[in-house]
Amino acid sequence: MMDKPWSNRAWFLVIPVLLVVLFSSLLPMMTVVNYSVQDTMGQNSFFWNGVAWFQNLLDPTSDMGGRFASALVRNLIFSLVVLLIELPLGIAVAICIPRHGWKVGATLVLIALPLLIPWTVVGTIWEIFARQDIGLFGAVVNGIGIHYNDTEDATSAWATIVVMDVWHWTGMIALLSYAGLKAIPDAFYQAARIDGASRWSVFRNIELPKLQKVLVIAILLRFMESFMIYTEPSVVTGGGPGEATSFLSLDLVKIALGQVDLGNAAAMSIVYYLITLTICWVFFTIMTQLDQRKGL
């Protein structure tokens, strides 16, 4: 231990990675930071604006602040709703997937299909699917007497986006859970039979605890994905009707590219990014701590 030669030259080996990170994420982000503290009168001339954009954004009574706050709330509700539906549904599907024989392959391919479809195509499929005149879904729902119009009615629009997301992503949770379930040795099920455990008890005391790690990953992935959702609602509802499905990313694009309001957009990007980062960090810390505490 004491004679171990040591030198700091190895740090030079880290330089290539630092360079890649610098150009791929740090520099582009700094330009956004740059915009967020400046204002412009056009003609490409910028001047210092301090934290005014941020103050404006974080004040819910201001125009921009109110818009941001309601988009944020919408987004959080959306993430919560899809997680609450997709998580139990995905686990339930995983439990029903056969464990042996040709049916395994067939089922897995069927479940994975929605995952292989590009986002915009998913949006287009559901936009057409939901139409009241020619869409199978929209026409059938209206046909059985339920008023449904995703371009005029906020509830319909929300239902469409949520159902679409469930259709698109439950498969991923099912596949992850299936992999987790497959990793449980047979002896656990055999022991449970010998111990006279009920099916629910097997799920509660064997399957769910063994799935915990996989589910942490699934929750993280699904939360981030749903919190950043853009393409599908942009194609299906375009954020409407009114502002009903204007999630943060949709609103951000409107401000940045629609209104070319660079200062507001940059400040919003940064706050949006920090919120995502914080929530993921909190999530992860809680989950890993939970894991460790149980070990004691």
Partner: protein, 361 residues
């Protein structure tokens, strides 16, 4: 509490070639008696675990009937069979404490709170789990976890049998001794029928009242440890039990004499070799054979192994080799000639791998 009868039980796993059925377990008849400790001993893949799983109901036999006392349970589900089984790797319920783990089989059978607590306490004392009863089971060491598995197997007082499927595989050697003697003590205290699967002869011989030796899905011999050692019914038993295993030399047997090449052994008994017998072998244990400086069976010492407690000599008898004990007072070294002595009562004759009995000459 019951005895378990295997009535012509056999098993072929589905998918095996049906033209000539390949038995994972060849037909077997046996009665496991209440209160006894049995060991199923044999090399990996010999059908021990299949037999165990048939008894517990995890596998339904393709032939034969299984009786608990006089009740046919061949098609009764595992849950309803009243069998406890402990597996090779520890199975614990992560979400529960040690006490809850032990109570689980009882709770599932709707026992009342007071009896559960009493029973869990007894088992915890028996296995020294008392200090960790309120800890979460998942953070414990592998051997503590296996103790919990053992405890869950033993906690039900009303089981017909407790089955162990190589339960000490993951335990480190120092603790193996302790747990094995603990199991032995538990068996004496609880008076249960226990069946213990292992490929380790020491484990089998120390644990069991009776040992069942299996190979290639067939039962070769059922007997007490002494039976297996003194009178192996099959040459595999002779070879598998004992360390080192029995010596086997091809021999020509006529009456009470056996000729191995030019050497002649006096058997003390007279043997009738059936005409159909193709391969006749003379078997004797290294433990009973000695190499001395004088005698009438000349051998050459190829190698002397000092095991500390005793010395073994590998000797050449004509073209054949055998292992014998070198008594402490004998001073013979590698390459020197010696004389082999085997008391007649420790010489066995095997015809086509099966031991045959002699009659007084």
């Amino acid at each position: 509490m019951a005895s378990i009868t295997l009535d012509h039980i056999a098993h072929v796993y589905p998918g095996a070639a049906s033209a000539a059925p390949h038995y994972a377990l060849k037909p077997i008849d046996h009665v496991w008696r209440q209160g006894r400790a049995y060991a199923l001993l044999g090399p990996s893949g010999c059908g021990k675990t299949t037999l165990l799983n048939i008894i517990s109901g995890l596998v339904t036999p393709s032939e034969g009937r299984l009786l608990f006392d006089s009740q046919d349970v061949t098609n009764v589900s595992t849950e309803k069979r009243n069998i406890a089984q402990v597996f090779q790797f520890p199975v614990i319920y992560d979400t529960m404490t040690v006490a809850e783990n032990l109570a689980f089989p009882l709770k599932n059978r709707r026992m009342d709170r007071g009896s559960i607590d009493r029973r869990v306490g007894e088992i915890a004392d028996l296995l020294d789990l008392r200090p960790v009863l309120n800890r979460r089971a998942r953070g414990l060491t592998a051997d503590a976890k296996q103790k919990i598995s053992l405890g869950r197997g033993l906690v039900r007082a009303d089981v017909s049998a407790v089955l162990f499927d190589e339960p000490l595989t993951v335990i480190d050697p120092a603790l193996k001794w302790e747990l094995r003697s603990k199991l032995k003590a538990v068996h004496q205290a609880l008076d249960m029928l226990m069946i213990y699967v292992t490929h380790d002869q020491v484990e089998a011989l120390t644990f069991a009242d009776e040992v069942v030796v299996m190979k290639d899905g067939a039962v070769l011999q059922i007997g007490t440890p002494a039976d297996l050692f003194e009178r192996p019914a099959h040459s595999f038993v002779g070879y598998f039990i004992g360390s080192p295993g029995m010596n086997f030399l091809p021999a020509v047997v006529s009456g009470s004499r056996a000729a191995v090449d030019t050497a002649t052994f006096d058997l003390g008994m007279s043997y009738d070799i059936p005409a159909s017998g193709k391969r006749v072998e003379l078997g004797f244990r290294p433990d009973y054979a000695t190499v001395l400086p004088t005698g009438d069976l000349p051998v050459r010492i190829l190698k002397v192994e000092d095991l500390g407690r005793r010395r073994l000599a590998r000797v050449a008898l004509g073209a054949h080799e055998a292992v014998a004990t070198l008594p402490p007072e004998v001073d013979l070294a590698q390459g020197e000639p010696g004389w082999l002595h085997v008391p007649p009562e420790h010489l066995h004759v095997f015809v086509d791998e099966l031991r045959i009995e002699g009659r007084p000459a």
